[in-house]
Symmetry: C2
Subunit: 616 residues, 2 copies
């Protein structure tokens, strides 16, 4: 089985080890008996067990049989079919150009027939979105699944807390977000119905383990992956996904460009338990040889259907890049930095016409609702530097995204809104507030933001700061940034570094919001730290492998892992050990004071006043 070494091209291995001391458990549904919600249970050395959210899918379940050339089990297919509102159909014919070729032989060489599925779509006149169901008052299996998943069995440990402990953990500042103590399926339905959350879940992505994006739920993170320049194996492409979700990617965006992207998308979707997002304009641009001016609504529309049939769960659509906003970027320090934004800007000014994504927006909605693809309304004019943050172009586009949100909702299509980018700390909150207002609380999904531009090579951190803050303020999903941002393409280590950084930022946000299911993990880890349970400290962390490795560099012996000291103070003097003395002292003091009080009471009863009370 693969260890966590950088994957080698010809090894074709998929990482399958469970995380250390971890076991996959499944919780069954109540309303929908056939749902099984996966969680990760960490066994501690003191016999306790801690349940954590698990994005890693069946890959970390040693009992799951996985063949990436066939795809994951289509667990969700029955749920979709049971609703009786979809039909299987032949689907659009796959063309050579979908893979970037004119020659059929080359184009289909990378296709794997075992990963082809006949697509489903809404029957004529039907709307199959989760938003549509929610508004009808229907609790879907997806909704109940999410309710169970978001709770993470917290009722179990919540009962063990004193009321003070419980209150302390819940004390946060949520800036108006409202996460109930227990997430019920009905709460999920209501949040979806009101547009405050989305469940990206294309009916053709039947391998999905449903998840939710909304500010009254755990803050989520997205990891981006892309195809390799050189044609590679299915295993290699799938491993990127598996690696990303292993460390906590809640959704994955496939930003592949160039050759074989249709085939690659099949590899990924058929093997992905997490929602997959794409930017369809990238593929549309490939189909017109990279010439933005040659894009047409027809090419784009065809691409949307192509990807919707494959099962993409959300589409980034840059429909807010209006012709009139484009000149507003002319005097920026860094102009337009969004790839999709600049494609559309180029098209608009070349034709001196309004953005076709805007003019055809209702037609896009029609496609989205037939497959339940969610909108991720792209921020094509996001700032590319602190200097351009919160400017007229950015906020103009945001207003338009708000307008488009209402149109999408009219069609019962789910929407989230993309946000910046590069924003100094004091201007972050304004982004969140304006977004909530302009887009009627549709979930916000931001890239960072980077809080300074002076640290290339460390932009996972410059942006992790902004991500934690905007997550706290109410951002629902954070798009990760790797250390290679602005410099090159990330490798396997960079992807992991970016994900862990964003995972800790999202968690810091959950804690600060007072999310009832957040701080227990910090507390469990802190207790392990205080008790010198080194193994538990590693295993409760976001990256047990790195923590263990760092520890072993200084204290390599296994015996040190149970020793009651650490390399910081050494065996002679240990800060944490002194605490036992303090506890003994406090207990002793309490006993003495109690004893004196008792004696004092006794004397009082006898009419004496010798002892004065010590307790203040």
């Amino acid at each position: 089985m693969a260890k966590n070494d950088p994957i080698e091209l010809n090894k074709h291995t998929i990482t399958r080890d469970p995380l250390p001391a971890s076991k996959k458990i499944y919780i069954e549904g109540d309303i929908h008996k056939d749902i099984r919600v996966p969680m990760r249970e960490i066994a501690l050395t003191n016999g306790d067990k801690v349940t954590v959210y698990d994005t890693s899918g069946p890959y970390t379940d040693p009992t799951a049989e996985i063949n990436v050339r066939k795809g994951l089990a289509e667990t969700r297919r029955d749920w979709v079919l049971a609703r009786g509102d979809v039909e299987e159909y032949e689907g659009r014919e796959i063309k050579a150009i979908d893979n970037g070729y004119t020659d059929d032989d080359k184009a289909f060489a990378t296709h794997n027939p075992d990963l082809q599925r006949k697509p489903l779509r809404a029957k004529a006149g039907q709307n199959v979105t989760q938003l549509h169901y929610a508004r009808q008052g229907i609790i879907t299996p997806e909704m109940e699944y999410i309710a169970i998943r978001e709770n993470q069995r917290r009722q179990e440990w919540q009962e063990t807390l004193s009321s003070e402990e419980r209150e302390a953990r819940l004390k946060g500042n949520s800036f108006g977000a409202n996460t109930p103590d227990e997430i019920t399926p009905e709460f999920v339905r209501k949040e979806i119905a009101e547009g405050r959350a989305i469940i990206p879940a294309n009916i053709n992505h039947t391998e999905l383990e449903p998840m939710i994006i909304g500010r009254n739920f755990l803050v989520k993170i997205n990891a981006n992956i892309g195809n390799s320049a050189v044609t590679s194996s299915i295993e290699e492409e799938v491993e990127k996904l598996v690696w990303g979700i292993r460390w906590g990617g809640d959704t994955v965006m496939d930003l592949s460009t160039g050759k074989n992207i249709h085939a690659t998308r099949d590899y990924i979707l058929r093997n992905s338990p997490v929602p997959i997002g794409t930017v369809p304009i990238y593929q549309a641009l490939e189909k017109v040889n990279g010439v933005a001016e040659d894009l047409t609504w027809e090419v784009f529309r065809d691409t949307l259907i192509e990807q919707a049939e494959q099962g993409v769960d959300y589409f980034t659509i840059h429909a807010g890049v209006l012709l009139r906003y484009v000149p507003l970027t002319a005097n920026r320090v860094t102009g337009i930095v969004s790839r999709g934004g600049s494609i559309m800007a180029k098209w608009c000014i070349a034709h001196h016409k309004e953005n076709f994504l805007y003019t055809h927006f209702e037609e896009i909605c029609e496609i989205m609702k037939a497959y339940d693809v969610s909108f991720s309304l792209g921020d094509g004019l996001r700032p590319g530097s602190l200097a351009d943050a919160n400017d007229e172009a950015q906020f103009g586009e945001l207003e338009t995204l708000g307008e488009l949100t209402k149109i999408a909702w009219k069609h019962d299509v789910q929407v989230m809104i993309e946000g910046p980018g590069h924003v100094p700390m004091h201007m972050i909150k304004d982004n969140m507030e304006k977004q909530l207002e302009a887009c009627d609380e549709a979930p916000f999904y931001t890239l960072g933001p980077l809080t300074t531009d002076i640290a290339p090579g460390y932009d996972h951190i410059t942006s992790g700061i902004g991500a934690a803050m905007i997550g706290w303020y109410g951002c629902a999903m954070l798009c990760y940034v790797t250390p290679k941002e602005h410099l090159g393409l990330p490798n396997r280590d960079d992807v992991k570094e970016g994900i862990i950084t964003y995972k800790l930022a999202a968690h810091a946000a959950d804690v600060a919001k007072g999310h009832p299911g957040a701080r227990y993990r910090d507390d469990e880890l802190s207790k392990a730290r205080f008790d010198f349970r080194w193994e538990d400290q590693f295993n409760l962390g976001l990256d047990p492998d790195t923590a263990r490795e760092y520890h072993d560099e200084t204290l390599p012996k296994d015996s040190a892992k149970v020793a009651h000291f650490c390399s910081m103070c050494g065996p002679k003097f240990c800060s944490m050990r002194i605490s036992q003395d303090v506890r003994d002292y406090a207990a002793e003091k309490e006993k003495i004071e109690a004893g004196m009080k008792e004696k004092s009471e006794e004397f009082k009863k006898q009419g004496g006043e010798i002892y004065v009370e010590l307790t203040e």
Copy 2:
């Protein structure tokens, strides 16, 4: 000359290369003609030059002759002597126990006579602190030096900005901090006089390049170093310091323990251009064989004098750990985690007596003012986990530190206050506000704080988030955390990673505060990025080496560094290139509109109304 490779034990090399494309420049004083303030000038490929703050000392000046076995030039000695209030004296006799030995032969084997100096102290009845001078209305060379240093020649580039650009950069939220457009020597004096800032500058640290810590100045960072377990060379110990200041350490704390710490301190002080801080109780504990109960005021006092004579610039003194606060930590999740705090707690409860640092505080002040050692009042009861943040023990101690601040100020002794630790985001601001109030705006110096406990191995990031935020709120100095925090001792790479993380956090804070000398560097880097001036982008960053290395992994050819595309989009399509089209379009549009307006005006004059105005 040494490259940036991990130092090898037997190589005895000191890193001396200037940073890429960088030149050391010196600015002379106006009031004090003999001061020469070092800065780093980065030469850009477009001919521009950018000046940045430089902590690296003479090591990065190839013209400086350096022999670490003799120490740096004692530039500051004349300034100290010129004040006529100090005397040279024999000094305390160095004892074997100062190096942790009973045997003189072993104890002095590591001593280097060329690094011994006869100490200076205040003449009887004199007070030689910068606070004392400031209150007398005296502008010392140190103050003028700092004024020049904090300005970083910003007047030069400020003149090139339009008033809008200038205003935009200054727009921040400083939470009551007030940094003027130009830092004058008088402003420095006033800030010192009012206790809002300190200049840690022991009169015996004559190699110092003075710097300031206060919330109306650039946010500073501290890096910790410690001696090696195995006796090592002077070069090896000094290289740790040199490495730390190369990447931006504004002050360095020497947390050495065990053998040879007196000798090591000589190595470091005589070769350090930055202020050195220590925790004297660590050495005092060594002198009583690590048994906290055996500590006495006499041993501690002797240690203070020993270190003051060597030239330590600030002492962490845990005088706020009062006996009555100790039991308040008994029910904490992580008890007392500060090493100094737990030493004092142990002493207090063992003797059931009040902390001798508290009871002897005025005597400590007498020593501090004779050498101008600044207080860093230690937070011995800081929280070691989110669960313990902002509790009664922590805030009780903070109140006492406020009380001690007033006593120190009575003696004209400079003071800063140490802060936590582990604090969730929503509780950080409260720390800053309470500190400002309790300690009358004495500068705050915090460790992180860590915003979550679940990411061992990434605590430079969990704490970098909190550091950036508290720096924004008004914290004056941030004590770095490395990736090895809680796990082991940092190596050379960890130290660099920690420093760069804190440097970017401090800078993000400066930008958010609207510091007039902060955002120009972001803007210069963003312009370089937009122009595809790769070399400039690397060189303007905090870590040019890593940025270049990351870039070269994907696009290794030198030609790529001037190519107008990057590895993200590739040569066919480039977001940033499109901006030129946008600019042409905007210019064209403006021209057309101007032309139409002109025509319209013309017609109006002729009484016609054919053209309607286009501009909104």
